[in-house]
């Protein structure tokens, strides 16, 4: 009876605290198992192996997905960033190029404006600067629009010039702009006058060429002679440069004088409108408008032996050539030269040298000198400080001359050394020869400043 009551009480207790009982059982079981592991210091490898074996493939799949998707996305975003960077760099590059072009234009404009300012200050005529803003819509008519109009006191018929030359005349005036007929227009006529002979004519441009008409054949016009405005057209004041004569030929009654315009009216950007012209005298030479370019002095001349280093004979042919060269030097023979005696090739070079040394040098000798000729600046370049200095070499070794032939007086001042002579390449017999320059009588090798070391010497 008591046992039944006890069993009922336990059952009731278990039923009442079933969940708690299960919790205690589960926790105790795990604690026992945990205590067992800690006490035995033994890892339950089997459970872990199962767990890892079950999870690892999933992790591998996830890793594969990550590698193929996340990696792709990462690469995509990286490439997207690179693409954006490229786009930005290209944009910056374009902007810098645009700025470069802008600054170049600004610089050119500033230089041109400076020239205009200088010209304005020098010219007695009252002028106003203007900028070409557009061309005429008619292709056959050579006209442009400038950004100055009646508000700038521009009037019809005013001359338009640049420091380099004439441009045209104003044919229409608007409040803010004006239209300028260029001198290259076929209907445009300008009275011109030559610089030296003061020959008067009429400039007329047609078919892309400008000519000075109305010049008698008896009048004297030199080639490259400057023409200036004569002031007779009542448009351009006297004394403005027009251009140079590039072709002067007698024609039927009138000379045919072709002119090269100095102003390039078709390509100007900034011009001067002559508000009040003042006639000037025709200058002896055109006013310089460009500063002379400063040129560096030429580099120091190198020595001849440095230019042609002696090469060692490499082949049998080189040795034979060297032997013949020595024989020729010893016997005073110049290969290829006219009138030179036939050398004796049977003689050994050593004995020949001794023999030659006993008799004294009798080889063909020449002189090497240089004269500096300062070319006179052209008349049309007054004010230009450019001066050209050309160095021309005088005669050196006169190849082909008779042994002991008398040399020109200026060429006999110095004698070339045997070393320098030996350094010159000697062409074999039968090789094509170049004709001697009769004008200067100077072989190119003698001048060390201008000679080409690789050029064969005759």
């Amino acid at each position: 009876m008591r046992l039944r009551v006890g069993n009922n009480a336990v059952e009731t207790l278990l039923q009442r605290y079933r969940n708690l009982s299960v919790l205690v059982v589960v926790v105790l079981a795990q604690l026992i198992y945990l205590g067992y592991q800690v006490r035995t210091n033994r890892d339950e490898r089997l459970i872990r192996v199962w767990a890892v074996t079950a999870v690892a493939p999933m992790a591998g799949i996830v890793e594969g997905i990550r590698r193929n998707t996340i990696g792709f996305l990462e690469d995509y975003f990286i490439l997207l960033d690179v693409r954006e960077q490229n786009r930005k760099l290209k944009r910056d590059n374009d902007q810098l190029r645009m700025e470069n072009v802008y600054y170049r234009n600004q610089l050119t404009t500033a230089e041109h404006a400076r020239a205009l300012t200088l010209f304005q200050a020098q010219s007695p005529s009252k002028t106003v600067a203007a900028r070409v803003i557009g061309n005429s819509t008619v292709a056959t008519a050579k006209a442009v629009f400038i950004d100055r109009g009646s508000t700038s006191a521009i009037e019809k018929g005013m001359a338009v010039v640049t420091p380099e030359g004439i441009v045209g005349k104003v044919i229409a005036v608007y409040p803010l702009v004006s239209q300028v007929l260029l001198v290259t227009d076929p209907v445009f006529k300008v009275g011109v006058e030559s610089q030296e002979g003061h020959v008067h004519g009429v400039l007329s441009c047609g078919a892309g060429k400008c000519a000075v008409e109305e010049i008698q054949n008896e009048e004297k016009v030199d080639l490259r002679e400057w023409f200036y405005t004569s002031g007779e057209d009542r448009v351009f004041p006297r004394g403005f440069p027009v251009g140079t004569a590039v072709s002067v030929q007698p024609g039927q009654g009138m000379k045919d004088v072709r002119l090269n315009l100095s102003g390039a009216p078709g390509g100007v950007g900034e011009v001067l409108v002559v508000l009040h012209g003042v006639h000037q005298e025709i200058p002896a030479a055109p006013v310089a408008t460009e500063e002379a370019a400063t040129m560096m002095t030429p580099p120091p001349a190198e020595k001849a032996d440095q230019q042609t280093p002696a090469a060692k004979p490499q082949t049998q042919a080189d040795k034979i050539l060297e032997q013949y060269q020595k024989v020729g030097e010893a016997e005073g023979h110049v290969y290829g030269g006219l009138g030179s005696n036939m050398p004796n090739f049977n003689v050994k070079p050593g004995s020949v040298t001794k023999q030659a040394g006993a008799t004294g040098p009798s080889g063909a000798t020449g002189t090497s000198g240089a004269t500096t000729v300062a070319a006179k600046a052209p008349a049309g370049a007054t004010g230009t400080t450019t001066a050209t200095s050309t160095t021309t070499s005088s005669t050196g070794t006169v190849l082909g001359a008779r042994t002991g032939a008398k040399l020109p007086s200026d060429a006999s001042a110095t004698k070339p050394s045997a070393e320098a002579t030996a350094s010159r390449p000697v062409l074999p017999l039968g090789a094509p020869r170049r004709k001697k320059d009769t004008a200067t009588q100077t072989p190119p090798r003698t001048d060390t400043t201008t000679a080409n070391p690789n050029e064969p010497q005759l």
Binding site: R18, N19, L20, V22, L23, V26, V27, Q30, L31, Y33, L34, G35, Q37, V38, D43, E44, I47, R48, W50, A51, V52, V55, M58, A59, V62, E63, R66, I70
Partner: protein
Amino acid sequence: MTHEAGMNEISDEIVAQGTRESWFDRFQVLGLIALTLVAIVGKFYLPRLIPSAQWLELPLLLTVYFGLMRGSQLAALLFGAFVGLAEDSLSPANLPIGMYGITKTLVGYFAASVGVSFDVERGFIRFVLALFFYVFHAFFYWIMRRALLAQMVPFDVQDTLVHGGLNALVAIPLFALLDRMKLSGS
């Protein structure tokens, strides 16, 4: 005749409904197991993918959710034990199997006990309970390591609270998602 036909229809419907519920129960169990495995694998793999996601305790949140929503202490403690032991099997070898098992068994049990007393449908309650069980889980685990394994590991209260808050924040949308899936079977 008509009455018999009507009775047959009703009985067929009841049978079909029972079959459907049974199928759903089975499906829910399978889904819960699959989701648990995903959570464990996620804890196994997510820190490698996102190092800053080490604080995320999806298995614990699942255990809490199951305990709260299921309302069965027995089922919840068993579920907690299952999840904990599964985690233990993937834990470092210097930690014996059973540490997480015991902890999560207690969490499941207490979650189910609390779920009966509170309106666990409310987000705020869920947030507080998730935070509480996270702290309890961390603290109890720390106690066990010190008491059973004699491992003097520090217990950072601030980090625990911060991570608990983050997990509680994650728990709100996660529980809402699980509500739609009806994985609790309640």
